[in-house]
Amino acid sequence: MQQDLERIYREHRQGLFSLALSITRCPDLAEDAVHDAMARLWRSSVEPTGDRVAYVFASVRNAALEVGRRRSRSHATQLGTSVFDPHGPDPAESVVEAERRQLARRAVDALPTDQRQVVVLRLHVGLTFQQIADTFGEPLQTVASRYRRALKRIKDSIEKQV
């Protein structure tokens, strides 16, 4: 498992962090969650039988939920951090395009946590619905429906503000 873990971490480091950040909404806590999960998996003697990528994502998700539960006041100022890059718009893009992107960012950040996780895992990490379902420990149809509801919510939010 350790060799697989190293490979999965190298390939999905960004995705693991983004998943944790979409839950904790705090970069420091997200990094703590990824670190904790990697440490636990490294010393674990359990050999996962299913998709190992989904298994690692599930471990990070559990660690993020756990870290989020015991978040301290010291992180209060960072809570609510977006999963997206905070840097300003590309100077080359038009004002309209920049505004549209900004609305999309806000709409994703405003999603319920479960929906935000599915959007990040599907669109930014590139996991299949089956892998996301394994990560959540839920049926594939439940995850797919949640994804569609999230997209509709984002679309409605953007249209409302345009």
Partner: protein, 162 residues
């Protein structure tokens, strides 16, 4: 929401750059993996203790075994640790009897609490008491030499909790 709108929205969301984890995350994860790899886990500690115990038992058996009692015509006596048997009478031989050496070792081991130094890994204190008794018998010259060496030591064994 039709599929065309869905795909456009997915494309828009995919283009949003994600917030990146800090380089510190890689350093922390790699340091933890390195530390875990060089530190014995609870299974290896358990195996080491079992090996040590088996070795000590084997050593005790070898040192307390007296070949004289297995000679033809001698009555076999049970081997009891801690009880020294008188040397077996030398068989009627033409050559003079050679000096014989009898060595016995008693080992007791007990745990003596758990210590933690500066938030590091908890260490189990193991108290070991070893008594080594050696006896040389030279029947030809009527010389009998014996000495006892007690020793006492405490070792620290790292504990791993999964």
């Amino acid at each position: 929401m039709n599929d065309g709108n869905l795909e456009q929205l997915e494309d828009l969301l995919r283009e949003l750059p994600l917030r990146r984890p800090s380089p510190e995350l890689d350093r922390r994860v790699e340091a933890t993996w390195q530390a875990r790899s060089s530190r014995p886990n609870r299974w290896t500690v358990g195996a080491a203790v079992a090996t040590l115990a088996a070795t000590a038992a084997g050593l005790l058996l070898i040192l307390t075994w007296d070949p004289a009692e297995n000679r033809v015509g001698d009555r076999p006596a049970p081997v009891v640790a801690g009880v020294e048997k008188p040397p077996a009478p030398a068989p009627p031989e033409k050559s003079p009897p050679q000096p014989i050496r009898i060595e016995k070792v008693w080992t007791t081991q007990s745990t003596a609490g758990v210590v933690v130094h500066d938030g590091d890994v908890p260490m189990q204190r193991v108290h070991q008491q070893i008594v080594r008794h050696v006896r040389w018998i030279d029947e030809q010259n009527h010389v009998n030499i014996e000495w006892t060496i007690p020793s006492d030591q405490t070792v620290l064994v790292p504990l791993e909790y999964n």
